[in-house]
């Protein structure tokens, strides 16, 4: 048997399985988005682009997109800074490093939807731990689920708690494979630690940082579980992200056709945005003299 046979043997089973599972949903969504399938009438008629026109003027959908942009960028940035600090400490060696490393990885292993239940019990206004501690300190309590900013805050806290370990792990792996020579040379030249970090470590870490940031942007954009459990997009729609909006339209209200339109729009917007972000980050991190 020739090499071509083996070439195909390796790639095709995986690729074909993926295509088989993915292609139907995609084509189906495109077709459905041009129908009027909803709770009162099912089936594939053809109404052209009316769903698409509705989507463009759906202010709720676009404000959920803006909310997501804010959420994804902010939590990813905080996770990046915290994860980088934690990774640097372990990399430089810290007393009890093994213990810290083990403990910091634990949130990564927990289930987001289930942690959301725990966070919900912490941020319960009457009997939760957060207000309990505020009371003990003699401070006034906060309406975690009834006020807009605190509700957003709880989602951000849950997300940062859950995923900072991923950044930590990813950046630590990057630090461990850095070439040692430039760092040693700078140390011998007597450069200060902060100078070494900003002039050598940080630029060398740029490609890895971009990878980690992009992965987190992609993954955090899909956030659904914790919003579903923790705030149900409330108060009002203060914590409603596109995935929750999509879920509400298509699975709760059964507007199948319009849901498919929103889903495809989300996909297109995400692919365009991520490509732009990837290009910009790569441009900012391009090698420069110093």
């Amino acid at each position: 048997m020739g090499i071509t046979f083996y070439k195909r043997l390796f790639l095709l089973p995986g690729l074909l399985l993926l295509i088989a599972v993915i292609i139907f949903p995609l084509l189906f969504s495109i077709r459905v988005s041009m129908s009027s399938w909803n709770v009162s009438r099912s089936g594939l008629d053809f109404v052209g682009g009316s769903n698409w026109a509705r989507m463009f003027s759906d202010a709720d959908f676009w404000s959920s997109m803006l909310r997501l942009l804010n959420f994804a960028v902010l939590t990813t940035f905080v996770q990046y800074v915290l994860g980088f600090m934690l990774a640097l400490y372990i990399w430089q060696g810290v007393k009890g490093g093994r213990f810290f490393r083990l403990v910091w990885l634990v949130p990564l292993m927990t289930t987001p939807s289930i942690m959301a239940i725990v966070w919900r019990s912490i941020f319960r206004e009457d009997i939760g731990a957060a207000n309990g501690i505020l009371k003990m300190l003699g401070l006034s309590t906060i309406g975690w689920s009834t006020e807009v900013v605190p509700a957003i805050f709880t989602i951000y806290v849950a997300e940062i708690w859950q995923w900072t370990p991923f950044m930590f792990l990813f950046l630590l792996a990057g630090l461990l494979i850095l070439p040692k020579e430039p760092l040693l040379a700078a140390e011998i030249d007597g450069a200060s630690p902060s100078r070494i970090f900003w002039k050598i470590t940080f630029p060398l870490m740029a490609p890895i940082s971009i990878g980690a940031i992009l992965i987190r942007l992609i993954e955090s954009s899909k956030i659904f579980d914790s919003i579903f459990v923790l705030t149900s997009a409330g108060p009002g729609s203060a914590t409603e992200t596109p995935t929750y909006f999509l879920w509400k339209r298509s699975l709760a209200e059964f507007q199948i056709a319009y849901g498919a339109t929103l889903a495809l729009t989300y996909l297109i917007v995400m692919i365009i945005l991520l490509t732009i972000i990837a290009k910009v980050l790569t441009y900012l991190a391009r090698p420069r003299g110093w």
């Binding site: 090499i3 995986g14 993926l18 910091w104 289930t111 019990s121 954009s221």
Partner: protein
């Protein structure tokens, strides 16, 4: 940064990691009064621990039994990870060693196709998958959920493993083929043993993401194959009290927290480095 500041930060973060876990753990042993009369924190001082919450979820008190759900989660996670790691690993090896092409699309486009699947949120696929599985008679079956989860997990494996295989010198498999192995035997005898760390990392991420999936189980399974997250979230939607919910939360995350102790050394050593290169 000064040394003190550093340790203050480390301690603060470590405490922050412990906060929700210890709150859930103590709450799971609380009495109704200790929950409903305002926040309590210290067992034996502020309340007498009881195991009522745990009896509720283990089928002892007849309230709910999460053990079958844990078995479902284990079956689904195991097989979805197994399929993803083996098929994804093969595909990644192929993409690392051979040149594929169709018109002007090449290897990097195929890799992008795999990774692009991660952009798809489960909610986008929910209704088509529902209809697809309904047509195939696979709704509420292990196989159906495994297939669907595999489509989300395999991209992770391909993404992690292509770079990992790229780091293993080609000479190694070329040598094996010169000695009369076919490409498959060369892969099995020389590359597979060398890629254990990469396989370990891929498996860990498949297990984490497979175990933690809520959405597909929520939409595509009903009674027979409900996984743990879906079952616990369903409890959360009823009048289940917080001590029972906390017990179920600890019960569901315990297996993977045990898992971290086994796999931590793979995660922290260079095993992950293939992915970040």
């Amino acid at each position: 940064m000064s040394k003190t500041l550093k340790y203050v930060f480390l301690t603060f973060w470590t405490l922050f990691v412990f906060v929700p876990l210890s709150w859930a753990l103590t709450t799971s042993f609380k009495t109704p009064d200790a929950v409903n009369q305002g926040a309590t924190f210290i067992p034996w001082v502020q309340f007498e621990p009881t195991v009522a919450g745990w009896q509720d979820i283990l089928g002892i008190s007849g309230y709910a039994n999460l053990i079958p759900n844990m078995v479902n989660s284990a079956i689904v996670t195991f097989f979805a990870s197994l399929i993803s790691v083996s098929l994804g690993g093969f595909a990644a090896y192929g993409l690392s060693r051979f040149r594929y092409g169709w018109k002007y699309y090449g290897n990097s486009d195929i890799i992008f196709f795999f990774i692009a699947q991660r952009i798809l949120p489960p909610v986008v696929l929910a209704i088509p998958f529902f209809l697809l599985l309904k047509g195939l008679n696979l709704l509420d079956t292990h196989l159906g959920l495994i297939l669907v989860l595999t489509s989300g997990l395999m991209p992770i494996v391909v993404w992690l493993m292509v770079d990992f295989f790229n780091q293993i010198p080609r000479e190694i498999d070329e040598m094996a083929m010169l000695e009369g192995c076919n490409p498959f035997q060369a892969f099995r005898r020389t590359i597979l043993p060398l890629s254990k760390p990469g396989i370990a990392i891929s498996t860990i991420f498949c297990v984490i993401f497979g175990w933690n999936d809520l959405f597909f189980s929520l939409v595509l399974t009903f009674t027979n194959v409900k996984t743990l997250p879906a079952a616990v979230v369903a409890l959360n939607g009823t009048v289940t009290p917080f001590w029972t919910l906390s017990a179920s939360a600890i019960f569901s995350i315990l297996p993977l927290i045990g898992f971290v102790f086994i796999v931590e050394r793979y995660l922290a050593k260079g095993g992950f480095s293939g992915a970040v290169r």
